[in-house]
């Protein structure tokens, strides 16, 4: 848990800067989790090696997620004159040429550029429709240096709030901005703060919910890794507003790098007097602690999360009382999500009107989305509310991978639903997305093409929620299990007449008889896929076929005799020797023996094997 990767240890240590002349180039390597996974540390090591030989006056630093995850490893070059060049898909063996041509000779390697301040490039459209508030520093500053954050206006919002505004004025500003909870439910943040401020108590808490459990979502991880001080500043302002003096970061156990950077950020803020007693010379005192989650999706629910901080099983309880009245250890507590807090410093500095000028009538500001799945440019994007789903997918995301057809987008993770391509003109705001049957959610957007089976996707999410149900409510515990069993038999070709109706009945019952959001929303993936893709369910049940050719048990592999030349390649890769035939004569697949592994299709050069 301590180190981001063991490879980090082998890196050359950054030397203390000994006041040299300003460097000719400042190079920034993207080292968020994505960058590291794509080989960021190896690229940086190779870069340092090449630089050693070149003897140039260059400064190298790290940054968090840049957003263009599809082009990781990314590397920025800042020139003294303000020009900035971004390289994508960097590998260790590209470093020598990069150092030689760009740094030594001053000629950027045009083929590898993905973004540059002095020329237009195809990937510019990735940024054209984005509006970066939460991500304003991500991929720009070094998240391990508080000075970098401060040089970008960091902690000025806290100073403004503490010295020039009363707690009520801070709350009013947030209320007027129209900011709503970015964890997914969309409750007005200012109202939540008002409730917590209005609660009586000798002790109050602020909790930051960083238990990003939706599979397919990585916004909070990227923000915590890329700009930890921004989130902390938002929490401090909230603490001042409601009258709390202690805060907890609750971070998922799977995010070791985020935890490491938060620990560092807390240390640095303490040294500067932004945490502790009498912050910035005022009466405001605040302590910050980190609690690492232990792997339970239900802990994203606020009452379960608090139980987990208290050291108990993370099981939700009935509300009211709401946390604002009785939360952590029975004290008034305000819980917001990472992205919500990350908006706050910007709102305080730029004013509620600037924030409210973006978005739609009921959904203000911007929203961060994690674009993933079958999309050409997957990554982290921040767009103004009110943009359409089509704009995000086709313009920002560059369309579907490999030129295939856009089928649906899954929003809101296991609590959300699948929005079909036909509803691509839906605008992104809490209410419009809600009308489709999906939810805005925390920001996961998993894009699906025509090879994705919608029944299988519903089964996938039910498998997840069924495992993650804490077991407290019977309908959630047993109902999700029954739904999963039905979905499993449908995808295995054993679906029965009436299964769809049974699914819908169970779904309704689970929704109304579960205590927390997990159970109340668990049926959504099934409900939306039945609503928009009912014919796929029917094909599985009645015709025993999977239109997307995805459900293994329903596939049938056949050799087209006219196309088969009898090269025997397929027979040689078949693990169960189900393919027989003489050399130079058409082969045959024994349907009984075939295990549908797909090896033969991948091997055949003559397109002679058909999958039905």
């Amino acid at each position: 848990m301590k180190k981001a990767t063991s490879k980090a240890k082998t890196l050359p240590k950054k030397k203390a800067v000994k006041k040299p002349a300003a460097p000719d180039y400042r190079i920034v390597v993207g080292l968020g989790s994505c960058g590291i996974a794509a080989g960021g540390h190896k690229v940086k090591a190779a870069l340092m090696e090449s630089l050693k030989k070149a003897k140039l006056n260059v400064q190298v630093s790290d940054t968090g997620c840049v957003g263009m995850c599809y082009s990781e490893v990314l590397l920025d070059v800042h020139h003294k004159n303000g020009q900035v060049y971004t390289y994508g898909n960097m590998t260790p063996d590209r470093m020598a040429r990069f150092v030689d041509e760009h740094l030594a000779k001053g000629q950027p390697v045009a083929d590898w550029l993905v973004k540059a301040s002095d020329r237009a490039l195809p990937d510019d459209s990735f940024y054209a429709k984005q509006k970066r508030i939460v991500l304003r520093n991500c991929g720009d500053i070094d998240p391990e240096k508080i000075e970098d954050y401060m040089a970008h206006g960091g902690y000025q919002a806290l100073e403004k709030a503490l010295k020039k505004m009363s707690p009520d004025e801070v709350i009013k500003e947030v209320l007027d901005s129209g900011l709503r909870g970015r964890g997914g439910a969309g409750f007005p943040t200012g109202r939540k703060w008002q409730f917590a401020r209005g609660s009586r108590g000798d002790k109050k808490y602020i909790v930051c919910n960083g238990d990003e459990g939706d599979p397919g979502a990585f916004m909070d991880r990227s923000v915590l890794e890329g700009d930890p001080h921004n989130v902390m500043e938002g929490m401090l302002i909230a603490g001042y507003a409601i009258g709390a003096d202690e805060g907890y970061f609750y971070v998922r156990a799977e995010y070791p790098l985020a935890v490491e950077r938060l620990k560092l950020a807390i240390e640095q803020a303490k040294k500067r007097g932004f945490l502790g007693k009498n912050i910035m010379g005022t009466k405001f005192c605040f302590e910050m602690k980190i609690k690492e989650g232990a792997g339970a999706f239900v802990c994203g629910e606020e009452t379960a999360l608090m139980a987990s901080i208290e050291g108990q099983r993370g099981m939700p309880r009935l509300r009211p009382p709401f946390p604002a009245v009785s939360g952590l250890w029975g004290k008034p507590t305000n819980i917001n999500n990472v992205e919500t807090f990350a908006n706050v410093p910007w709102i305080i500095l730029n004013g509620s009107a600037a924030f409210a000028s973006l978005g739609t009538e009921k959904s203000k500001g911007s929203k961060v989305f994690a674009l993933a799945g079958k999309i050409a440019r997957g990554g982290l994007v921040e767009v103004p509310m009110g943009i359409t789903i089509n704009e995000i997918i086709h313009e920002v995301g560059g369309g579907i991978k490999d030129g295939r057809a856009f089928k649906a987008v899954q929003m809101g993770g296991p609590s959300g639903g699948c929005i079909p391509a036909a509803l691509g003109s839906t605008i992104v705001d809490y209410d419009s997305v809600g009308q489709t049957g999906a939810i805005m959610g925390s920001g996961g957007m998993v894009v699906m093409d025509d090879t994705t089976c919608m029944v299988d996707i519903a089964r996938f999410f039910l498998d997840f929620t069924q495992k993650e149900s804490c077991g407290k409510c019977t309908f959630c515990r047993v109902g999700t299990k029954r739904m999963l069993e039905i979905l499993e038999r449908i995808t295995k070709g054993r679906g029965q007449e009436g299964d769809i109706e049974l699914l819908l009945e169970l779904a309704e019952k689970i929704k109304i008889s579960s205590l927390c959001g997990l159970g109340q929303t668990a049926p959504n993936p099934v409900l939306t896929t039945v609503k928009y893709f009912r014919q796929e369910y029917e094909a599985h049940i009645k015709d025993k076929t999977c239109p997307a050719h995805s459900c293994k048990e329903l596939l049938k592999y056949e050799i087209v005799p006219e196309k088969c030349i009898g090269c025997t390649a397929c027979a040689r890769v078949c693990p169960v020797t189900a393919i027989s035939g003489q050399v130079k004569k058409p082969h045959v697949i024994d349907q009984e023996a075939c295990i549908k592994c797909g090896n033969c299709v991948a091997k055949c050069k003559f397109d002679a094997i058909k999958v039905r």
Partner: protein
């Protein structure tokens, strides 16, 4: 069901006591204590849970309840390296099942099991949060993205 008294100088006990001392008097210490003991000892043995129960004055039943609620805690030892194959939405859509199948076949284990030589434990996890590099896996704390069945098993075998 072994009894602890009578055993002399259990080296594990020293490590547990160090963790307990660090959290003495802290509110909500149970989960961090379990986490740190697991990091120090690899898993949570019955003896460890007993020692923690005594140290924190929390009933063993309650500790067992917490330890079995959260997926992070293990009550059985694991292999030298932990291979976590991501089965989040993006990885699922991107073919995570084939990655798991390749690793399980390559190491001759099933999901959740440890290899006979004790070198690897393989498990599927919900989401590692590197969705744009799907399919993804982690070996210990190293993340590998854009996997194919071949590259996945190759990366594992390099450990």
């Amino acid at each position: 069901m072994k009894k602890t008294p009578g055993k002399k100088a259990n080296p594990d006990l020293g490590k547990i006591n160090r963790v307990l001392a660090k959290y003495k008097g802290n509110k909500g210490a149970l989960i961090p204590v379990l986490q740190e003991v697991q990091v120090a000892l690899g898993f949570l043995s019955q003896d460890s849970l007993r020692a923690i129960s005594e140290g924190l004055a929390i009933p063993l039943s309650q500790i067992y309840g917490v330890a079995t609620f959260y997926t992070q805690f293990r009550l059985k030892p694991i292999g030298k390296h932990l291979v976590r194959v991501c089965h989040g939405t993006a990885c699922h859509v991107g073919g995570a099942e084939k990655i798991s199948a390749a690793i399980e076949a390559g190491l001759s284990v099933r999901d959740g099991e440890t290899t006979a030589d004790g070198k690897f434990t393989v498990e599927s996890v919900a989401c590692l949060g590197c969705c744009s590099l799907a399919p993804v896996m982690m070996v210990d704390n190293d993340t590998f993205g854009r996997l194919t069945p071949e590259s996945a098993i190759k990366a594992v075998k390099e450990y």
